[in-house]
């Protein structure tokens, strides 16, 4: 397996830190960086660059290789691979490394990496061997070998960056246990906490495409069970659900005993210390065994196969018209402008909970300008956009809109949609030189608190093997990403 190394680039495409590249020529990392920068410069959108770039050595064709790369905040991390390697190993390693940085520093950014370069360098050294074998990547084991930055700087970082990764409780240093003294690779020995807690978050993400008739073409919810574990000693946990059948296609953290799951659908595990993803699953409703399906009014009764479709909690009606008024004028006539109107209405189908942070985005296409819109709630709650980019965020409860003139994206934001309300956006715009070609799809993002599409319910969390009684908490949250065509 030849992961050749890791290179961290800043947003200008310069290398800040890179691993040793000891089994290659010194020119090699430079070539990789160059290839990525060239590809990025050539692409119209940075997201359109192939994630695996074939890199050819200019003078020596004996060194074929490819470069996997991902953007990560204001950084871009490259993972050159050579030989016939699985690019997924490259990407999985990149992801792991980003996770490690996240755990160590509470965030990943140019400033953080620069401030802690010595720790990052040591981490590189410990996680990746010179010929590309990933070594120790379990965060719990790494902490023994590479000391995290001091508590002080950690708190500083925590204040500025992501809070979730570090959390409140810091383990009390137990008796100094040797590295790898633990028999369990993902959990280090001798963890001690003053207060023992375990929080379980069930997050579900709806991915759906709805066609012009308002019928969901595809719609499925991907769930993730995230756990924040602050337990002393070596606890053995058993988590069971009242309705485990809603989880299909599960994948688990290595700590979960797979045999036990396949036998009686109990998740039995010795948890790693700290934050981790216990399991991921897909939710596809079954007609017979589901209560959630009745909670949504299905937007269209003609859905082709309701069996496989997670109902969308809202409905949108959109209309879009373009007229050509100024028209062609004489032989030289370049059509001067193409005014158009648009209107869209969102209505909530969910009757129990509000949807929050609804973002509706529409790409209006090149040369769109002179956008004027009114975002309103059908009964009261008026929000009005004033000018491009600075209009949004009017009131906390009212809707607003904005237009990103660089990306040509019209964004409509509704912070809170209470049950059974209607919201609408009316507006006009113009386009010069060419008829406007807006995308035929509205991208909708939303969140629902304390709700899951699958209605997955934790029955019991049993913790054995230790004497204490921990505090336990379970919480659900839904997000969605729906493409609504019109």
């Amino acid at each position: 397996m030849g992961i050749d190394g890791l290179i961290i680039l800043d947003n200008a495409g310069r290398s800040i830190i890179q691993s040793g590249f000891r089994s290659t020529t010194p020119a090699y990392p430079l070539l990789q960086i160059d290839a990525v920068n060239t590809a990025l410069a050539a692409a119209s959108r940075p997201t359109d660059v192939d994630p695996v770039i074939q890199v050819q050595h200019p003078s020596n064709s004996d060194i074929p290789s490819a470069c996997c790369h991902v953007a990560c905040g204001d950084l871009r991390i490259l993972c050159p691979i050579s030989g016939n390697v699985d690019p997924l190993v490259g990407f999985a390693f990149l992801q792991t490394f980003v996770d490690i940085l996240q755990e160590y520093f509470g965030g990943v950014s140019l400033a953080i990496v620069k401030d802690n370069f010595d720790v990052v360098y040591q981490l590189l050294e410990e996680t990746l061997d010179s010929v590309g074998h990933p070594l120790t990547t379990s965060h719990n084991a790494l902490r023994d070998i590479v000391l995290p930055p001091s508590l002080f700087s950690k708190l500083l970082n925590a204040a500025t960056a992501n809070l979730a990764a570090i959390g409140g409780g810091t383990p009390i240093q137990g008796p100094p246990a040797g590295p790898f003294s633990s028999q369990i690779p993902w959990r280090k020995a001798g963890v001690k906490y003053a207060s023992n807690e375990m929080y379980i978050d069930v997050n579900e993400n709806l991915q759906a495409i709805v066609n012009k008739q308002g019928v969901p073409l595809t719609s499925s919810a991907y769930g993730k069970i995230e756990v924040a574990c602050r337990l002393s000693g070596t606890p053995d946990c058993t988590l069971n659900f009242t309705n485990p059948q809603v989880m299909t296609d599960c994948s688990f953290h290595p700590c979960v005993r797979l045999q036990r799951w396949s036998r009686d659908k109990h998740m039995s595990f010795i948890p790693p210390d700290g934050h981790f993803v216990l399991a991921e699953y897909r939710y596809t409703p079954n007609t017979n065994s589901n209560s959630a399906i009745t909670r949504f009014a299905n937007p269209s009764s003609t859905a082709p196969s309701p069996k496989e479709v997670v109902p969308i909690p809202f409905a949108i009606k959109a209309k879009f018209e373009v007229e050509e008024t100024t028209g062609t004028n004489g032989a030289t006539g370049r059509a001067a402008s193409f005014p158009g109107t648009l209107s869209a209405t969102v209505m909530l189908m969910l009757t129990t909970r509000p949807i929050e942070n609804v973002f509706v985005e529409l790409n209006l296409g090149e040369s769109a300008h002179a956008i004027k819109c009114v975002a309103s709630r059908e009964s009261g709650g008026l929000g009005r956009g004033l000018s491009a980019l600075e209009s949004g965020h009017a009131g906390s409860a009212s809707a607003s809109w904005s237009f990103d003139s660089r990306k040509k994206v019209l964004r409509w934001e509704i912070p809170n949609v209470p049950p059974s309300t209607h919201w609408s956006l009316q507006g006009s715009f113009a386009a010069s030189t060419t008829p406007p070609r807006p995308s035929h799809a509205l991208q909708v993002r939303f969140e629902i608190q304390s709700h899951t599409f699958s209605a997955l319910k934790v029955d019991q969390l049993k913790i054995t093997g230790e004497g204490y009684k921990p505090y336990k908490g379970v919480r659900g949250r839904s997000t969605g990403n729906v493409e609504w065509r019109w």
Partner: protein
């Protein structure tokens, strides 16, 4: 440790002399070595930035005596960077420190020492390493053992004979039975690395060893699992049951959270299936593989891309895997273009009569998007869909006509190109739409589409009333056209003349164009073809007509499919670069170890029939020779081809219906097919093995027609 924030200033360029002075100053009264640590940190920062710090070698190495792990680490980082290029006397200075650290009480320091030594492939260091490594491989601490295992591979790279003589390979084999799973995994990784070297000791597994490795699987880290499972490719099952039991043991790994583990598991399952007999188990495994593949699509776009390229390969060999999941491949507007294109290709592969309508509606949606490249491929896919799925052809034609009506130039061009192929696939069915195509003659300005419409006019000159007028206009610019269009014009005019030999205009046209082709044009292909037509027409016009208008072989989507043997071989590389580029690694990576299925009593007969033996002869094969040429629905590859059969292999010439959308996916099929001259021979075998080997898809019986032998019906 210095405060965060201050560290950034270490990035300022440091001066060697200053560091040296600082290091010496640190010798005196340095409580807890704080000063020394700070200087070393600055030095390491400079190394990271690529500044040459090697002049400090002697000074830095002195710090190795400091009994502090943090300092040792930084010195070792320094050694790793400059040890290789150090002078002999400098290295000699370090050796005692190495030997001392190898026996340190702290296992971290022991491991650090041997790891650093293995990074410095200089004879003196290798000597020292050889001695210490032997102890470290038997160290009581697993961290040291696992580090030592990897070091063996490096020692082997530096000096293979010494490593073999020293018995290190045997010691690695012993480590495969270690109690600690990480040690086992690293031993396997080291053995694999050695085995992949052209001069390395071959690494093979027997049943007992393979089973032992499997029992370490559950406790390994994800990387360890990847190593271990990857090594199972070195196990050749001798009995069906061996393969079946092993598959049942690893199938739970499909539930792993790490995508690379999932894909490796799939690779091994696909490999083991070649050695299985139990049809129901194979079906069960295929069913199990689908969901994890689909789940990969909820990851980031990069992982999606890799997954999609692999799915494309897998569904060609095992269509049962994602048979009913075409919907998950529907593109979203915001998907990156590379994901969209990969999804488009898979949608086409998964299209069948049952889901044809959904797929078509989706493709139609894409054809209205903004991205030109994507729109063209979507339109092309509609055409391919029509050719592949007969019951859906009417709908496809209808959609294409609607798109032509809309009148966007690039859409029209693309539509004309695919409609030409549809005419050949369904002769006598859709010619009624020709007038509509001719209305848009003016908007066709690209060679490929222009050649397509010229072909259509020529081929159906007897049904197009004003064919002579149309051609006359087109011929006007003959001398400025590209070769592709010129060739098409030449043939079309000859066809027109044969259909309407009485027409004065046709006679005049054909005369004009033959004269141009033979006198004014430099391209030898064009000139040859001109002469050939001229002589044929001069000697026996009736016979010429029979030849030029001979019945054409029906076109199919055969060329979409890879050769089965090549596919089997590529699938052994599932999840590797080879599967992304759809090429065998030997072809683009020198020294890459080729992989091929190994024959054994358990190998199922269908896989054996297409077995590829290593080393596979490399037939470079000029592209013009690729037999797929004769599958090209372009010109008359009929019994007596009137055209020069080896046409200019310019890229724009190979207008098969799949070239662009499939990226390079078909190149491999071409090289694979080069081995025999008859382009159809292996298609038949591929088809028959498919029927014998696969769970028969629903209604397959009704679909065994000659034109319908795509893998997915």
């Amino acid at each position: 440790m210095a405060q965060a924030g201050q560290d950034a200033k270490f990035f300022t360029r440091g001066k060697i002399e200053e560091f040296r002075a600082d290091l010496h100053a640190a010798d005196a009264k340095d409580k807890k070595f704080v000063k020394r640590k700070t200087v070393l940190k600055k030095i390491v920062a400079n190394i990271t930035m690529g500044n040459d710090m090697s002049p400090l070698f002697t000074d830095v190495v002195q710090s190795l005596g400091t009994p502090l792990l943090e300092i040792k680490k930084m010195v070792y980082l320094f050694l790793v960077s400059y040890g290789r290029s150090a002078k002999p006397e400098q290295i000699n200075m370090v050796i005692p420190f190495f030997l001392q650290d190898v026996n340190d009480r702290n296992p971290l320091i022991r491991a650090l020492a041997i790891r650093t030594m293995s990074y410095i492939p200089i004879p003196v260091v290798t000597d020292a390493l050889t001695e210490s490594l032997r102890h470290c491989l038997r160290d009581r601490d697993p961290y040291v053992r696992k580090t030592a295992a990897i070091c063996v591979a490096k020692l082997y790279a530096a000096d293979p004979r010494r490593a073999e003589k020293g018995g290190f390979v045997e010691m690695l084999r012993d480590l495969m039975l270690d109690a600690n799973a990480t040690v086992v995994a690293n031993a396997v990784a080291a053995l694999s690395e050695i085995g992949d070297r052209p001069d390395g000791v071959i690494f093979k597994l027997n049943l007992t060893a393979a089973n032992k490795l499997l029992s370490a699987l559950d406790e390994s880290s994800e990387w360890g699992q990847i190593y271990i499972m990857d090594s199972l490719l070195r196990f050749v099952p001798e009995r069906h049951s061996d393969a079946e039991i092993m598959a049942e043991r690893i199938v739970v790994q499909l539930q792993h959270a790490n995508s690379a583990v999932v894909l490796t598991t799939i690779k091994i399952l696909l490999y083991l299936m070649n050695y299985m007999e139990n049809r129901r188990l194979i079906e069960y495994l295929c069913k199990k593989m689908g969901p994890p593949l689909v789940a990969l699509l909820s990851s980031g776009p990069e992982v999606q891309y890799v997954a999609l390229r692999n799915i494309l390969l897998i569904i060609q060999r095992r269509p049962a895997v994602l048979k009913n999941d075409v919907k998950v491949f529907f593109c979203k507007y915001n998907d990156p273009i590379y994901v969209k294109l990969a999804k488009l290709e898979i949608m086409y592969r998964l299209a069948r009569a049952e889901n044809c309508r959904e797929v078509l509606a989706e493709l139609q949606e894409y054809a209205s998007e903004v991205d030109v490249d994507f729109v063209r491929k979507a339109v092309r896919s509609i055409g391919r869909l029509a050719i592949k799925v007969e019951p859906g052809a009417d709908g496809c034609i209808q959609t294409l006509l609607e798109l032509i009506e809309a009148g966007l130039a690039y859409v029209v061009q693309e539509a004309v190109i695919v409609i030409k192929d549809i005419f050949r696939r369904y002769p006598g069915k859709y010619e009624g739409i020709i007038p509509k195509l001719c209305e848009h003659l003016d908007s066709l300005d690209e060679p490929e589409s222009k050649a397509a419409i010229v072909w259509i006019i020529g081929q159906f000159a007897d049904r197009i009333d004003n064919a002579d007028d149309l051609l006359e206009v087109l011929v006007d610019t003959f001398l400025e056209e590209s070769v592709e269009v010129q060739l098409a014009l030449l043939t079309a005019t000859v066809k027109l003349f044969i259909y309407k030999s009485k027409s004065e205009k046709a006679k005049e046209l054909v005369h004009k164009i033959l004269k141009w082709a033979t006198e004014e044009v430099d391209n030898p292909d064009l000139r040859d073809r001109g002469f050939m037509y001229w002589r044929m027409l001069a000697i026996n016009p009736t016979l010429a007509g029979e030849i030029v208008l001979a019945e054409k072989p029906p076109i199919t989507t055969d060329s979409d499919r890879m050769d089965r043997g090549a596919l089997d071989q590529l699938l052994l590389h599932t999840g590797t670069l080879g599967s992304i580029y759809h090429k065998n690694p030997e072809t683009f990576i020198r020294n890459a170890a080729g992989r091929a299925l190994t024959d054994s009593p358990a190998l199922n007969p269908n896989s054996r029939a297409v077995l590829v033996h290593l080393p596979r002869p490399q037939i470079p094969g000029p592209p013009g020779l690729a037999p797929t040429d004769s599958l090209i629905p372009g010109e008359d590859a009929a019994p007596a081809p009137p055209l020069p059969p080896r046409r200019n292999p310019a890229p724009q010439d190979s207008h098969t219906d799949d070239d662009d959308v499939g990226d390079d996916s078909d190149n491999d099929a071409e090289t694979a097919q080069n081995r025999n001259d008859d382009p159809y021979s292996n298609l038949d075998s591929a088809f028959s093995t498919y029927l014998a080997d696969e769970p028969k898809p629903m209604g397959a019986g009704a679909h065994r027609g000659r034109n319908d032998d795509d893998l997915l019906f």
